[in-house]
Symmetry: C2
DNA sequence: TGGGTCATGTAACCTGTTACATGATTAG
DNA sequence: CTAATCATGTAACAGGTTACATGACCCA
């Protein structure tokens, strides 16, 4: 359970509709968790049934009606509990398909592999550029949504992204170099 | 689909039973992918039905009978196809619950958060020690199972692990320092 | 008149997790 | 006598993915 807690975390900042949550999720949490729109609606339903949320339908004439969700006391408790317990094992695990592919790449020829690593390198640089942009958006959110206390933790996660992709880039460059030596 | 391809990759080195695959998976791929024993058996079944594998029952008197799997031509093709196409988007995504928790940690008090980061730091050091040990096991596998061509890619994935956890450690130390300044 | 935004979902499927079951042999 | 190793799974559930559906309003 993780998407549920991400949604709880967002709703703890204030009431939101599924549509808004979807956008907020994709704007702020997308770097370390991904969720389909359909999954978000499904989870919101389940969370309401668990008593973590309440909803209210807002009738609109010019736009489709919407369902505004609010976190309950039970939901807040659940969020606090989740935040308090650090489950080191599960949270430390990596799942990385690129590494799995790389592990089995001995069967392919060198040139193909060098090309592959160069593709990833380009992608890596893209990600670093994107992070530069989101640095500013944290500034904006900070003023609008939340207390200053939160923003330092948001910056931490952004910093992780920066360090991560820099490390990734370093790794790719090193690997490309080693493969080129074999040619 | 990823576990299936990991299993294909292992079976491409030679015939194995589900039990052996489970152990091989946990020995070599566990760093970047995790799988339950029950899931491995289930996937092997599905893969045989797809015609990627064939199986042969080995009758034993002193031990339980076993089912030896071998990769088919179709399976090899599937593996090669998977290796050839690099799907940058999905393979680049991170899923990290620790970061999600950190993102929402503004509500907790400083001391708790510093303690949490220190727990992760300890765990990080543990992982670095573990990787040091597996460095040797690659050496052993290299001689036994496969051609020398493969081993460079195995070393790459181990190197990624090293860089990753060093980066993680650096990140945690930096974050702890910043939080301690706020006290 | 075609595409984007607003807004909600359902259905089917695939993948991953948890808990449980069986039973012989062997090493400490 | 107890725990580990060998060896196979099943069942139920939780979580994630893909494809599809609806329909009004607004802007170019």
């Amino acid at each position: 359970m993780s998407l549920k807690h991400g949604l709880l975390g967002l709703l703890n900042y204030g009431q939101m509709t599924g549509y808004e949550l979807d956008k907020a999720f994709k704007a702020s949490l997308r770097f370390f968790w991904q969720a389909q729109t359909s999954q978000i609606y499904r989870e919101l339903n389940a969370m309401e049934q668990s008593g973590w949320l309440t909803s209210e339908i807002i009738y609109q004439t010019d736009k489709p009606n919407k369902k505004l969700y609010a976190i309950t006391e039970l939901g807040k408790l659940e969020l606090q509990n989740w935040l308090a317990q650090n489950s080191l094992e599960s949270e430390f695990q990596i799942r990385n398909l690129f590494l799995m592919k790389l592990f089995f790449s001995g069967g392919k020829d060198l040139k193909e592999n060098i090309a592959m690593l160069n593709d990833y390198k380009k992608r890596c640089i893209d990600e670093l550029v994107k992070l530069d942009t989101t640095g500013n958006s944290i500034e904006q959110y900070r003023k609008n949504i939340s207390t200053q206390q939160d923003s330092i933790y948001w910056e931490f996660t952004a910093r992780f992204g920066e360090l991560y992709y820099k490390m990734y880039l370093e790794f790719l460059e090193e690997a490309i170099e080693k493969l080129e030596e074999l040619q």
